[in-house]
């Protein structure tokens, strides 16, 4: 790594629950090089200046979804946001919007994980099949329908981008609804009926007002707004279909 020649100011919104009742800004001067991400800037602060700054991170390559935070008010993965693009600074770093702050840049993820579990984010086979019958096949066209939505890394940037979730934390939210769609739209899946209850609820797709910022900030091009809004049609059809005469009736 080249020797740092310049510094940049990073402001971190601190919340230490044992000493503060509400968050406060703290400023740090960080020497940086062209190839440094915001995450590396924070790691420099933690290693060299102030070991008490808390944040989550793991893979450093935009796949684990751990290091999401507000960077200059935009929900971003700190590992793929570079300090060179934020010159001359200061760079303002905060915990993801709309989620309770546990400590500094660490937010509560438990409600999100509960919602994720509730949609059964796995393929529920239409019928049980013996191993000898071989794999469940899928055509490229069938894959195309779900592939984009299967790229979700659960980073929750879309929750920080969704004012409807901020106003009503009960809203299932963009990421989980996109994953719900990913499984419902899978040609190999038979779990649709089990998931429709969550989708149809007031807190399901109908809490979305098509703001669309979730899709803007998604680091994986999932387009959750599209998943949610096309399921408003599915939800309406699911409601009206009950009025059709039953087969053989």
């Amino acid at each position: 790594m080249a020797e740092p020649t310049q510094t940049i100011e990073i402001q971190v919104l601190r919340y230490r629950p044992e000493q503060e009742t509400e968050p406060v800004w703290q400023s740090y001067q960080v020497p940086f090089t062209e190839d440094m991400s915001v995450l590396q800037g924070l790691q420099y602060i933690k290693d060299e200046i102030d070991g008490s700054v808390s944040f989550r991170w793991s893979c450093r390559m935009a796949i684990c979804g751990s290091c999401g935070m507000m960077i200059n008010r935009k929900p971003s993965l700190s590992c793929q946001t570079f300090l060179r693009d934020l010159l001359p600074g200061p760079v303002k770093v905060e915990a993801l919007d709309h989620l309770p702050i546990e400590r500094d840049l660490v937010v509560s993820v438990e409600p999100f994980v509960k919602k994720l579990e509730s949609i059964k984010p796995y393929i529920i086979p239409k019928e049980a099949r013996a191993l000898s019958e071989g794999e469940y096949l899928q055509t490229p066209a069938q894959l195309e329908k779900i592939e984009q939505f299967s790229s979700c890394i659960n980073c929750m940037l879309c929750y920080a981008a969704c004012p409807q979730f901020g106003l009503n934390p009960e809203f299932t939210g963009p990421g989980v609804l996109a994953l719900l769609h990913r499984y419902n739209a899978d040609s190999r899946d038979g779990g649709r009926a089990e998931r429709m209850e969550i989708l149809n609820a007031e807190e399901g797709v109908w809490s979305c007002t098509a703001v669309g910022y979730c899709s803007e900030v998604c680091p994986k091009g999932v387009d959750p707004a599209n998943a949610v809004n096309q399921n408003k049609v599915n939800s309406a059809l699911d409601y009206f279909i009950r009025f059709l005469p039953k087969k053989g009736a």
Partner: protein, 141 residues
Amino acid sequence: MKPQSNESGVRRNPPYVRPMAGWWTRNPFFVRYMVREVTAVAVWIYALVLTFGVVRLSQGEAAWNGWLDAMKSPASIVLHLVLLLGMVLHVHSWFEIMPKTMAPIIVGGERVSAERIQRTGWTVAVVVTVLALALAVWSQS
């Protein structure tokens, strides 16, 4: 919530929930969203104006002519200019979000792009507007 004490007796405040007041002023993207929501009111008001015209038409010639005169008043023209501006902003904003609201359209094995959906929307809007204007001019001649 009150501060909680953990097992070692250290008092700590609960997770901090940030207030949502004024949320839409904090991001230009949200301001544009609110413009879409507010300009829907312009569309609604203009629908009311036209509906009222149809009602007056059903009440005979004098009522209809009265409505037409009211439409020509300076206040009405100002209102129409404001509503037109609202309508154009709403059309722009709506076509911007439209591709996200639709199930994918597949043509010849390829998904139709968001840009193409937006261009089609604008083309239809412009063609319908020109036809409506041509009809209005033709009916005056």
